[in-house]
C-alpha cells in the first residue's frame, strides 16, 4: 500500500465535503485523514485527503472523478516525496502526586513537544511532526498513561513552485485578509 495525499481546491459552499467523500465511498476507498480549511484566497477551500492504495491507476481515476464535481477547481494527487507535510497531535497525560514526574526537558529538546495546558491532575502536550514522529512520542509518553490522544490529520503543501493561481490564471483572486 502506498500513501497518497490528494489536495482538492474547491469553492467554499455547502455540501462539497459530501460531494467528494461520496466518490471515495462508492469506490470503497477509506479516508486515513482529512483536513479542510480556507486557503489564502477568499472563498476557496482546500481539502487534504490521505488515502492508502496499492494501485496508482485507481488513484489517478479517483482524482479525475473528483475533478468532475462542479465546485472543484483543481485536484492534485501526491506521493509523500512530492510534498512538505505535517500533523499536530495533542496528548492529555495524567500527573498524580505520587507518580514519576514528566521529563519536560526531554519532551522539549528530544521530542520537540510542548506543554500547552497545565492542570493540577494532568497536562496537555502538543506534538507537531510526521505520523512516525508522533507515534515515537506516543511510545515515549505511554508509560505515564494517556488520558486522551488526538491527531489532526495531515496538512500538506506541494514542493512544486507552481501554485493554484498558475493553474487557474483567469480567476480574480483576493487574499482572505
Amino acid at each position: 500500500m502506498t500513501t497518497y495525499t490528494i489536495c482538492v481546491f474547491t469553492e467554499n459552499t455547502f455540501g462539497i465535503l459530501n460531494k467528494i467523500t461520496t466518490i471515495l465511498t462508492r469506490r470503497r476507498i477509506n479516508i486515513e485523514s482529512l483536513t479542510v480549511s480556507e486557503t489564502e484566497r477568499k472563498g476557496i477551500s482546500r481539502f487534504t485527503i490521505v488515502i492508502h492504495h496499492d494501485s496508482r491507476e485507481a488513484v489517478e481515476k479517483l482524482v479525475r472523478q473528483i475533478r468532475k464535481v462542479i465546485e472543484v477547481l483543481a485536484v492534485f494527487g501526491y506521493l509523500n516525496e512530492d510534498i512538505a507535510f505535517n500533523e499536530i497531535a495533542l496528548f492529555k497525560i495524567p500527573t498524580p502526586i505520587d507518580a514519576k514526574p514528566i521529563d519536560i526537558e526531554t519532551i522539549n529538546k528530544v521530542h520537540k513537544a510542548w506543554v500547552v495546558y497545565w492542570h493540577l491532575n494532568y497536562v496537555i502536550i502538543q506534538k507537531t511532526g510526521s505520523e512516525e514522529e508522533i507515534f515515537e512520542f506516543f511510545d515515549y509518553i505511554k508509560p505515564h498513561g494517556i488520558l486522551e490522544f488526538v491527531r489532526s490529520g495531515r496538512v500538506a503543501v506541494s514542493k512544486s513552485p507552481q501554485t493554484l493561481v498558475d493553474y487557474l490564471p483567469e480567476a480574480n483572486w483576493e487574499y482572505i485578509q
Binding site: 474547491t10 469553492e11 455540501g15 461520496t22 489517478e60 462542479i70 487557474l168 483567469e170
Partner: protein
C-alpha cells in the same frame, strides 16, 4: 416570533398580493418561471404538491408561454423529460414537490446521468426555517441526489434564483450533458427578490470548463495511429448524437473507409444502408462486430465509454488493438480501456479537425471480413427469426414489419429487455436521432413516458414505443398523460406473459429454474380503453400487417398488443464473463 409566522402564512396564501404592491419586484416563483422562459424552455413535465405550490401558482400566469404537462407520477415526468431532451437536444425540465415528489424523480435522474441526458429538475422544499426538523414532506433530496446529478443546489433565498437557474442550465447542457437538481425552499418561492429580476445566461464558470476543442498534439497522435492502421475499426456511441456529429462521422468513415459499428445508444447515427456500417456491438450485438473486435489493430472510439455490456470480459477484450479514444469527459479516458491516443473534446469538433489529417484509404478487404460473419448470422439467426414459420408471432417479425412500414424513419423508443434488444437488432434505422432507450441504467418502465416526451419534442415525427408486458406495468399510468395531451404516440406491447430477458437468463444459466418471471397480465386493451386510448390485440400472423397499418394510420394515441412466442431467446449473445469472441449464436 408568532407575529413572523403569521406574516409568512399570509405570504404563502397569496404571493400575488404581495407582488402587486411593488410591481417591479417579483417573487421567487415568478423568477423561476421567468428564468425558464429566458432559457427558451417551452415545455415542463411536472406534478404539483405542497412545497411547490407557489411555483404552480406562478405557472398559472404563464400558460400562454410555457406548456406544463401534468404527468401521473413524477418518475413519468423524469423519463418524459429525458425523451424530450434526447429528441430535441434541449434541456428537459421537470417540476415536482418535496419529499416523495422529489424521490420519485430519482430513478429518472439516475438514468439521465448514466446516459448523459441534459435535464433540470426543480423541486420544492420545506421552508428554510424548517430544514432539518423532519417537517411534513421534508427529504434531504440534495443528499440523496449527490451521486446521481451532475450538479445540485439548494436555494433558500429568492435572490439566488436567477443566477442559480442560469448555472443549472449551463451545467446541464454543456460538456458531457447530465441532470441538475435545484431544490427551492418554500420561503424562497414566496419572498420577493430584493431587486428587479435581471437574467444573465451563464456561459462560463471558474471551476468548470468542459474542453470542446481538442489539443493539437492529441489530434496528431490520433491521426498517425489511424493512418498507420491495417485493420482499423470505428466504434461510435451516444456522444455522436449528443454532439450532432453525424455528418462529420459520415465524412470521416467515407474518407478513411473504416468499418463502423454502433453501441446501443449510437444506433441510428449511421444508416444501416451505409456500406461501411457493420452492425452494433456488445452482449446482443452482431456476430462479426464482436468477433472482429478481437482482430482489429486500431479501435477508433467516438463518444462511447466501453460499457461492460460492450466489452464482455475486459481481460480478453481487444488486447491486440491500440485505442484512439475521442471523448468529451476526461474521466472516461483510461477508465476502462488503456488508451494510446486520447483525444478529449466534442465529437463534432474533433472529427472536423481530424478529417484533413487522415488519409483517404481503401479498407475494402478488411471490411469484407465482416461479410462472412454477417452471412452466418443471417443464416443462423436473422432468417429463422423472420421466417414466420412458428406457430406464434416472433418479436423480430413485428419490429421488421414496423421498420418496413415506417421506412426505418420513425423514432423508436424501446423499454428494457428482450424487446429492446429485438428493436435494436431488427429495426433498420435510416434516419439519425431515432433511437431512444435506457442504455446505462436499464430502467424498466422508461419507454412509455420517454416516448411521450419524444413526441412532445418531435411532434412531426412518428414515435413508436416498443414495450414488454412487464415494463408496461411499471409506468402504465402515463397512458393518462398521453390521453390528456391527445398526442398520437404509438405503443406496441410485445406480450409473452414473461419477464423475458430474466427468463432467458434463467433458461441459459440457471437450469431453467423459472423463478418469478411468469406474469398474469391484465387485459391491456381494456386498460387503454379505460384511459380513452384505442387499441387492438393481434394474435395471428395474418393480422399483423393490418394491425400495424391501422396503428400507424391513426392520428390519435394507439396501443397495439401483439401476442408473441412465449419462450424465445435473443441471440447472438455474449454471456456475462465471456469474451466478445465467444459470442453465442444459439
Amino acid at each position: 416570533m408568532e407575529f413572523n409566522e403569521k406574516q409568512t402564512a399570509v405570504a404563502e396564501m397569496d404571493p400575488q398580493a404581495v407582488a402587486s404592491t411593488t410591481p417591479e419586484l417579483i417573487n421567487g416563483s415568478h423568477a423561476v418561471i421567468q428564468a425558464l422562459i429566458h432559457e427558451g424552455v417551452e415545455t415542463i413535465f411536472g406534478y404539483p404538491g405542497g412545497a411547490i405550490m407557489p411555483v404552480y401558482d406562478a405557472i398559472y400566469d404563464y400558460q400562454d408561454r410555457v406548456n406544463h404537462i401534468l404527468v401521473r407520477h413524477e418518475q413519468g415526468a423524469s423519463h418524459a423529460a429525458e425523451g424530450f431532451a434526447r429528441t430535441t437536444g434541449k434541456v428537459g425540465v421537470c417540476l415536482a414537490t418535496s419529499g416523495p415528489g422529489a424521490t420519485n424523480l430519482v430513478t429518472g435522474i439516475a438514468d439521465a446521468i448514466i446516459d448523459s441526458t441534459p435535464m433540470v429538475c426543480i423541486v420544492g422544499q420545506v421552508a428554510a426555517s424548517l430544514l432539518g426538523t423532519d417537517a411534513f414532506q421534508e427529504t434531504d433530496i440534495i443528499g440523496i441526489t449527490i451521486p446521481i446529478t451532475k450538479w445540485n443546489y439548494q436555494i433558500t433565498r429568492a435572490d439566488e434564483i436567477p443566477e442559480i437557474m442560469a448555472k443549472a442550465f449551463y451545467i446541464a447542457k454543456s460538456g458531457r450533458p447530465g441532470p441538475v437538481l435545484i431544490d427551492i425552499t418554500k420561503n424562497a418561492q414566496n419572498e420577493l427578490l430584493s431587486k428587479p429580476f435581471n437574467y444573465k445566461k451563464c456561459e462560463k464558470l471558474l471551476s468548470y470548463h468542459p474542453r470542446l476543442a481538442p489539443k493539437a498534439d492529441q489530434i496528431q497522435v490520433a491521426a498517425k495511429l489511424i493512418n498507420e492502421a491495417k485493420k482499423p475499426f470505428l466504434f461510435f456511441g451516444h456522444g455522436v448524437n449528443i454532439a450532432k456529429a453525424e455528418e462529420e462521422l459520415l465524412q470521416f468513415i467515407e474518407k478513411t473507409d473504416v468499418p463502423a459499428a454502433s453501441t446501443l445508444l449510437g444506433l441510428s447515427s449511421v444508416s444501416v444502408d451505409h456500406p461501411n456500417y457493420v452492425g452494433w456491438l456488445g452482449m446482443h450485438g452482431n456476430y462479426g462486430t464482436n468477433v472482429l473486435t478481437n482482430q482489429c489493430d486500431v479501435i477508433i472510439a467516438v463518444g462511447m465509454r466501453f460499457d461492460d455490456r460492450v466489452t464482455g470480459d475486459l481481460s480478453r477484450y481487444a488486447r491486440q488493438a491500440k485505442v484512439v479514444h475521442i471523448e468529451i469527459d476526461p474521466a472516461e479516458i483510461n477508465k476502462i480501456m488503456k488508451t494510446e491516443a486520447p483525444v478529449v473534446g466534442d465529437a463534432k469538433i474533433v472529427l472536423q479537425q481530424l478529417l484533413p489529417l487522415v488519409n483517404k484509404n481503401d479498407h475494402s478487404e478488411w471490411r469484407s471480413e465482416f461479410k462472412k460473419y454477417e452471412q452466418e448470422e443471417f443464416e443462423k439467426i436473422t432468417t429463422p427469426e423472420l421466417s414466420g414459420d412458428t406457430e406464434k408471432i416472433k418479436m423480430a417479425e413485428v419490429i421488421r414489419k414496423l421498420s418496413d412500414k415506417t421506412n426505418g424513419e420513425a423514432i423508436m423508443v424501446a423499454d428494457v429487455g428482450q424487446h429492446q434488444m429485438m428493436t435494436a437488432r431488427y429495426y433498420q434505422f435510416k434516419k439519425a436521432n431515432s433511437f431512444i432507450t435506457s442504455g446505462g441504467l436499464g430502467t424498466m418502465g422508461y419507454a412509455l413516458p420517454a416516448a411521450f416526451g419524444a413526441k412532445v419534442g418531435a411532434p412531426d415525427r412518428e414515435v413508436v414505443a416498443i414495450i414488454g408486458d412487464g415494463c408496461f406495468q411499471m409506468t402504465l399510468q402515463e397512458l393518462g398523460t398521453i390521453a390528456q395531451s391527445g398526442l398520437p404516440v404509438k405503443i406496441i406491447i410485445l406480450n409473452n406473459n414473461y419477464l423475458g430477458m430474466v427468463r432467458q437468463w434463467q433458461q441459459l444459466f440457471f437450469e431453467k429454474r423459472y423463478s418469478f418471471v411468469e406474469l398474469q397480465n391484465p387485459d391491456f386493451i381494456t386498460i387503454a380503453k379505460g384511459f380513452g386510448i384505442d387499441g387492438h390485440t393481434c394474435a395471428n400472423r395474418e393480422d399483423l400487417q393490418a394491425s400495424i397499418d391501422t396503428m400507424i394510420a391513426s392520428d390519435k394515441p394507439y396501443l397495439l398488443e401483439v401476442l408473441v412466442e412465449k419462450e424465445e431467446n435473443v441471440f447472438p449473445m455474449v454471456p456475462t464473463g465471456a469474451s466478445v469472441s465467444e459470442i453465442r449464436l444459439e
